[in-house]
C-alpha cells in the first residue's frame, strides 16, 4: 500500500476519528486506525460500539490496507510540514510516513485483524433523510439530559421515535426529560423507537458540526447507520426498554410564568453559588409579577434575587436542582422568552421557549 495526500486534509480527516478510538485499550487493534487505499483513501476507527469511516481523495500508488496507532499517527501528521505526505506499508506491518525530509516508521498491526465495518445490507427496518442542522439541534437539545449513570443503561442514550413526518428525540436521566419533535421530509422513523447511545451521538454531533446538507439515516437490526457526504457512522443501539416518557409530561399546567432567558440564567448562576452541596438546589418563589430565585446552605450562606415576570397566579415556591435549569436554558434560543409551567411543589415543572411547541423540558422538583 502506498499513497500521498495533502497533510492539511489528512489531519482533518484523522481528527474526526479520534473520538471513537477506544481509550481503555482492551484490544490493541482498537487503538489503531485502519487506512485503506483503493480508488481513494478511507480512514476507519471503531470501539465496536461506534464505527466511523471517512473517505478522502488521495493519490494512490499501490492499493492495500494498514493499521497504525491512532493517536500517535494523528499527533505526527499534525506536526508535519505543510504539503504532501506519503504513507507506505513496509514489511512486518510497519508504516512509513515521509514528508519533506522527515521519515518516520511506525509500528502497525495486521489490517486483516481490524474489525470489519458493518455494511448496509439493504434490509433496513426504516430509513429517512434529515437536514444536518436540524439533526445537530435535536442532539443538542436532548443529549445533555441523558443519564451518565452506568447503572441505568436504558437511560444512557437518546430515544428516537417517529410518527408520520415527525421525528422525535427524547433524553432523560430520571430526574428531568428533554423532548424535541421536528417534522422531516419523507421520514419513516420507527414507531417503536430505538435508543441511540450517548457516545455514538456525541461522535455524530461532532461529524455534523459546521456542515450543511442532508444526512441519510437507516435503521436495521441492532444498528443505526448515518451517511453524510464523505463520512459514514454506524452505532450499535442500546438494548433496553425506554420508559414511557409520555406519561411524565403534564397535560395541563396550573401556573405559567414567562421570563427573559438571560435574566433567569444569570440569576441562577449567581444564586446557586451558595446552594448547598452537590445538589445545587435553588428555590423559585412566584408571586404576582415577580419571581424570587433563592438559595441557602448552612455552609456557604444565602442569596436571593428578584426578577420581574409576567405572572398573575397564586403564590408558589418550588425547589429545583439549579443545574437542571441552567442546562436547558443554555440550549434555548436567546431571542425568545422562557416559559415555565408549574403545578405545585411536588409535580413536574415544564420549561420551553415561548411560542415554540417543538421542544419541552420536564424537570422534577427537589425538597430543600
Amino acid at each position: 500500500m502506498e499513497f500521498s495526500i495533502d497533510r492539511g486534509e489528512f489531519t482533518q480527516a484523522l481528527a474526526l476519528t479520534q473520538g471513537v478510538v477506544e481509550r481503555r485499550n482492551t484490544m490493541p487493534i482498537l487503538a489503531n486506525v485502519l487506512l485503506e487505499a483503493g480508488e481513494d483513501l478511507s480512514i476507519a476507527a471503531t470501539d465496536l460500539e461506534v464505527h466511523i469511516k471517512r473517505r478522502c481523495g488521495a493519490k494512490v500508488a499501490e492499493a492495500g490496507a494498514a493499521t497504525v496507532a491512532a493517536r500517535k499517527f494523528y499527533e505526527l501528521v499534525r506536526e508535519l510540514a505543510p504539503g504532501d505526505v506519503t504513507i507506505r506499508l513496509l514489511d512486518n506491518h510497519f508504516v512509513e510516513v515521509t514528508s519533506g525530509r522527515s521519515r518516520v516508521r511506525l509500528v502497525g498491526l495486521p489490517a486483516e485483524d481490524f474489525p470489519t465495518f458493518p455494511q448496509a445490507d439493504g434490509s433496513s427496518d426504516s430509513a429517512f433523510t434529515i437536514d444536518v442542522e436540524i439533526l445537530a439541534r435535536m442532539i443538542d437539545r436532548t443529549l445533555f439530559a441523558v443519564s451518565t449513570d452506568d447503572t441505568r443503561a436504558h437511560l444512557g442514550g437518546v430515544f428516537l421515535t417517529g410518527a408520520g413526518e415527525t421525528l422525535r428525540f427524547v433524553g432523560t436521566d430520571g430526574h428531568r426529560l428533554a423532548l424535541v419533535s421536528e417534522s422531516v421530509g419523507g421520514a419513516s422513523a420507527p414507531e417503536k423507537g430505538i435508543i441511540l447511545p450517548r457516545k455514538g451521538l456525541t461522535e455524530l454531533r461532532r461529524l455534523v458540526e459546521g456542515r450543511d446538507g442532508e444526512a441519510s439515516v437507516s435503521i436495521g437490526g441492532n444498528v443505526v447507520r448515518v451517511e453524510l457526504a464523505d463520512v459514514a457512522l454506524v452505532m450499535r443501539l442500546i438494548d433496553g426498554e425506554f420508559p414511557n416518557y409520555e406519561q411524565v409530561i403534564p397535560g395541563e399546567v396550573k401556573f405559567r410564568v414567562a421570563i427573559a432567558k438571560d435574566e433567569l440564567l444569570s440569576a441562577l448562576k449567581r444564586v446557586s453559588v451558595v446552594a448547598s452541596d452537590r445538589s445545587r438546589g435553588v428555590r423559585l418563589a412566584l408571586a404576582n409579577g415577580q419571581m424570587t430565585v433563592s438559595a441557602s446552605s448552612p455552609d456557604f450562606g444565602e442569596a436571593s434575587e428578584e426578577l420581574e415576570v409576567s405572572y398573575d397566579g397564586d403564590d408558589l415556591t418550588v425547589g429545583f436542582n439549579s443545574r437542571y435549569l441552567t442546562d436547558v436554558l443554555a440550549v434555548l434560543p436567546d431571542t425568545q422568552k422562557v416559559e415555565i409551567g408549574l403545578i405545585d411543589d411536588v409535580s413536574p415543572g415544564v420549561i420551553c421557549s415561548e411560542g415554540d411547541d417543538t421542544y419541552s423540558y420536564v424537570v422534577m422538583p427537589m425538597r430543600l
Binding site: T151, V248, G281
Partner: protein
C-alpha cells in the same frame, strides 16, 4: 398403666442438679457465690482434671454453726431467704437453696467449717444425697467445700464433660468474672499443682483488670460513672482500638452478679457506634447497681439471665454514659516505639561518654535530615503544582465570579470566563518567579474556612489552593503546621508533642457524617423527586416494614408509596445518593430496618446507617490529590468535631506519634 407418684427428694435434687450444675465451672460458680455471701475476703479454688475429679473452694468467711450443717444439703434450705417477699429484693448471690443440695446429690462432698468465734470446727461428708456423721475437726476459719467425683452417679453428664483443659477454661472464666466484680477480694485458682490465677486484694477494678489483662490495657481505660434515679452505672471501658473479634471482654455485673443481657450488650455497642468496625466488639467492664425491686434475677437457675421491669432507661443510661466517656477521652491511637531490649541499655553508658566528635556527627545527620525533608517537600509540592497549575488558576476565576456576581456579564455563557482561565496555565513559571520575593502576607488568601473541604463534590475543586504552594519560599517550607500529603492518601502534620498521620478519606467521611447528621436532625435533607416513580417488588413483610417507617424515611429524603400488592413506588430519593440505583438503595434500607427490628432497643438505627453510607459515598477518596490549603482546612474541620478519631466505619482517622517515640526509634533515648 403407670401410677402417678411423688418423686423422692433425692431424685428431685438430681433433676435440679441437671439445671444448676452443667459442668465443673457451675460448681465453682455456686460455691464461690456462697463464699462471697459468707463475707469471705479471700477465696482459694483448687481443681483437678478440670474439676472432674475434684473441686475445692476454701473461704475465710463466717462459716456455719453445727446445727446448720444438718440442713446444709437439704434442698431449698437457705439462710438467705425467709419468705417469698424477700425474693423481690434479693441482695445476696445465692437464694434458691439449690446449690449445695444439687452438688451433694451428684458427688461426694466434704464440708468443713468453723465460725470465727468458735474454737472447734466441724466436718460433714455427704455422698450422692446421703448425709454422713457430723464430726468435730480441726479446720480453718471459714468454710471449705471439697467436691469429689462430680457426676459420679450421672454417667451421661460425666461422659459429656469435655477435656480437662476445656473445663479448666470454663472454670477460669468463672473465676475471672468474680475477680473483676470483686476486686477487693483475693482469689486464687490452682489446677493440680499449677497456679492459674493468683490475685491479691486490689484497690479497685482497674487495678484488678491490670493484673488480669496487663497494664497496657488498664492504663488506657476510661472511667464510667453515672447515675439515673436509683440506678448507678460504674466501671471502666477501653478505647475502641482494644476491640475484639468476640464479645469475650464485655463484662456486665448486675448487683455484683455477672449477667449476659441482650439489651445491655446492645446498649454497649450503641455507645461505641461509629467507633468500631462491623463484627468487632469493645472491651468493657461495667457494674450496674439497681434497686433489686427493679429486676427479676430469678429467671434462670444459673441466674445469668435477668428481667428488668423497664429496660429502656437502663439502655439509655448505658449508651449515653459510654458515648460521653468515649467522647471526652482522647481516642486517637498512639503508636509507641518498640520497647528496647537489654542490649540497648548496655549501650547507654557508652553514649554518655560520647566525644564531641560524635555530637558533631549527630548534628550533621540532623542537618542532613532537616534539609532532606525540606527537599522532599519541595519536590512533592513542586510536582503537584505543575500538575495542578491550571486548576488553581481556574478556581481563582470561578471564585471571583462567585464572590462578585455583578462581574458576570448578563450574557455570561459558560464560555465567558474561559479565555481568562486559560492564560495562567502558560504563565506558570513566570508567575512563580515573580511571586517568590513577595512576603507571605501578600499572597492571596486562598480560601475561607467556612467554604470547606467538606462540600462533597465540587468542594475540593473549589477550595483548590491558589499558588501558595510556592515552595521556594523558605518561610513557607519551614512552616511547622504545614501538612504534607503522603501517597495521596494520608496527611502528615506536626503536633505539639510529635506528629500525626491522618487518613484523608476517613476524616472527611467523619466530617460529612456529622454534617449529614445535622441535616437529618434539622429536617433539611435534600430530596430529588423522580420523573418516573420507580416500582420495586418486595415481600409483604418488607413493604410493611418500609411503610411503618414512612416518617423517618421522609426525613432522610425518601418518598415511598404502596404500589399494588407486592411492590412500592419510590417517588423521591435523597439527593446525596442519587448515583446509586434506586433498587439497591431500597434493598439496603429494608435490610437496615430489619436489623433494627432484630436488635430491638436501638430505635431508628437505619437512619444512622443511612448517614454512614451517604458520608462514605460523598467523601474524598484515597488517591485524591489535595492542596495544602485543602489539607489544612480538612484538618481544621476534623479538629472541630466532637469525635473524629474514627471514621463512621470505625477505622481510625488519625494516628499520633510522639517525639519521644521518635527519639526511641533513633536511640536518642532508651
Amino acid at each position: 398403666m403407670a401410677r402417678i407418684r411423688q418423686l423422692p427428694p433425692h431424685i428431685v435434687n438430681k433433676i435440679a442438679a441437671g439445671e444448676v450444675i452443667e459442668r465443673p465451672a457451675s460448681v465453682v460458680k455456686e460455691l464461690v457465690e456462697n463464699a462471697l455471701d459468707a463475707g469471705a475476703k479471700r477465696i482459694d479454688v483448687t481443681v483437678e482434671e478440670g474439676g472432674a475429679t475434684r473441686i475445692r473452694v476454701q473461704d475465710d468467711g463466717h462459716g456455719m454453726a453445727r446445727d446448720d450443717l444438718a440442713l446444709a444439703f437439704r434442698s431449698h434450705a437457705t439462710s438467705k431467704l425467709r419468705d417469698a417477699d424477700d425474693l423481690f429484693h434479693i441482695a445476696t448471690m445465692g437464694f434458691r437453696g439449690e446449690a449445695l443440695a444439687s452438688i451433694g446429690s451428684i458427688s461426694r462432698t466434704t464440708l468443713r467449717t468453723r465460725e470465727p468465734e468458735e474454737e472447734t470446727g466441724y466436718e460433714l461428708v455427704h455422698e450422692t444425697g446421703e448425709d454422713g456423721e457430723v464430726k468435730v475437726a480441726a479446720v480453718h476459719r471459714g468454710t471449705t467445700i471439697d467436691v469429689q467425683n462430680l457426676f459420679m452417679n450421672v454417667p451421661v453428664r460425666r461422659r459429656f464433660l469435655k477435656s480437662p483443659s476445656v473445663e479448666l477454661g470454663h472454670v477460669t472464666d468463672v473465676m475471672t468474672r468474680f475477680a473483676i466484680a470483686y476486686p477487693e477480694i483475693g482469689f486464687s485458682l490452682l489446677h493440680g499443682k499449677r497456679r492459674v490465677l493468683e490475685l491479691d486484694a486490689a484497690r479497685d477494678m482497674r487495678e484488678r483488670i491490670g493484673s488480669l489483662y496487663g497494664e497496657a490495657l488498664a492504663k488506657e481505660l476510661i472511667r464510667v460513672d453515672s447515675e439515673l434515679d436509683t440506678t448507678r452505672l460504674a466501671g471502666w471501658i477501653a478505647p475502641p482500638h482494644h476491640d475484639r473479634p468476640r464479645q469475650d471482654r464485655i463484662f456486665v455485673f448486675l448487683n455484683g452478679r455477672h449477667i449476659k443481657d441482650r439489651t445491655l450488650i446492645h446498649a454497649i455497642h450503641e455507645g461505641y457506634r461509629g467507633l468500631l468496625m462491623t463484627r468487632r466488639h469493645p472491651t468493657v467492664f461495667l457494674t450496674v447497681e439497681i434497686d433489686p425491686q427493679e429486676v427479676d434475677v430469678n429467671v434462670h437457675p444459673t441466674k445469668i439471665e435477668v428481667r428488668f421491669r423497664d429496660s429502656k432507661p437502663l439502655h439509655q443510661l448505658v449508651r449515653r454514659s459510654l458515648r460521653d466517656a468515649l467522647q471526652s477521652a482522647e481516642l486517637a491511637p498512639r503508636v509507641t516505639a518498640p520497647s528496647q531490649g537489654e542490649s540497648t541499655s548496655g549501650e547507654a553508658p557508652k553514649r554518655d561518654t560520647a566525644s564531641n566528635e560524635k555530637d558533631d556527627v549527630r548534628d550533621a545527620i540532623r542537618d542532613y535530615l532537616g534539609s532532606a525533608s525540606r527537599k522532599s517537600a519541595v519536590r512533592d509540592t513542586g510536582a503537584d503544582r505543575s500538575l495542578w497549575a491550571p486548576t488553581p488558576a481556574k478556581d481563582d476565576v470561578s471564585r471571583e465570579e462567585r464572590a462578585t456576581p455583578s462581574s458576570v456579564s448578563p450574557t455570561g455563557g459558560r464560555q465567558a470566563s474561559e479565555p481568562e482561565s486559560e492564560t495562567p496555565r502558560y504563565a506558570g513559571p513566570e508567575r512563580e518567579s515573580s511571586e517568590r520575593p513577595a512576603s507571605p502576607s501578600d499572597r492571596p488568601i486562598s480560601t475561607s474556612p467556612s467554604r470547606g473541604v467538606a462540600e462533597p463534590d465540587a468542594g475540593f475543586e473549589r477550595v483548590g489552593g491558589s499558588f501558595d504552594g510556592s515552595t521556594e519560599d523558605p518561610e513557607e517550607s519551614a512552616d511547622p503546621s504545614r501538612p504534607v500529603q503522603l501517597h495521596q492518601t494520608y496527611i502528615l502534620r506536626e503536633t505539639d508533642d510529635g506528629f500525626a498521620l491522618t487518613d484523608q478519606h476517613a476524616l472527611h467521611e467523619r466530617i460529612l457524617y456529622h454534617r449529614i447528621h445535622d441535616r437529618v436532625r434539622s429536617g433539611t435533607v435534600i430530596s430529588q423527586r423522580l420523573l418516573i416513580p420507580e416500582t420495586i417488588d418486595l415481600t409483604p413483610g418488607e413493604i410493611e416494614r418500609l411503610l411503618a417507617h414512612q416518617n423517618e424515611l421522609h426525613r432522610i429524603g425518601f418518598e415511598i408509596r404502596r404500589q399494588g400488592e407486592d411492590g412500592i413506588a419510590v417517588h423521591a430519593i435523597p439527593d446525596v445518593l442519587r448515583k446509586l440505583p434506586t433498587r439497591e438503595l431500597v434493598d439496603q434500607v429494608v435490610s437496615w430496618i430489619g436489623r433494627d427490628e432484630e436488635d430491638q432497643g436501638g430505635e431508628k438505627d437505619f437512619i444512622d446507617a443511612f448517614i454512614e453510607m451517604a458520608a462514605c459515598k460523598a467523601a474524598i477518596k484515597a488517591g485524591d490529590p489535595l492542596e495544602v490549603e485543602q489539607m489544612k482546612d480538612l484538618l481544621r474541620q476534623g479538629d472541630a468535631l466532637p469525635t473524629s478519631s474514627s471514621c463512621p466505619h470505625g477505622r481510625p482517622t488519625t494516628v499520633r506519634f510522639t517525639i519521644a517515640d521518635l527519639e526511641k526509634w533513633f536511640r536518642r533515648i532508651v
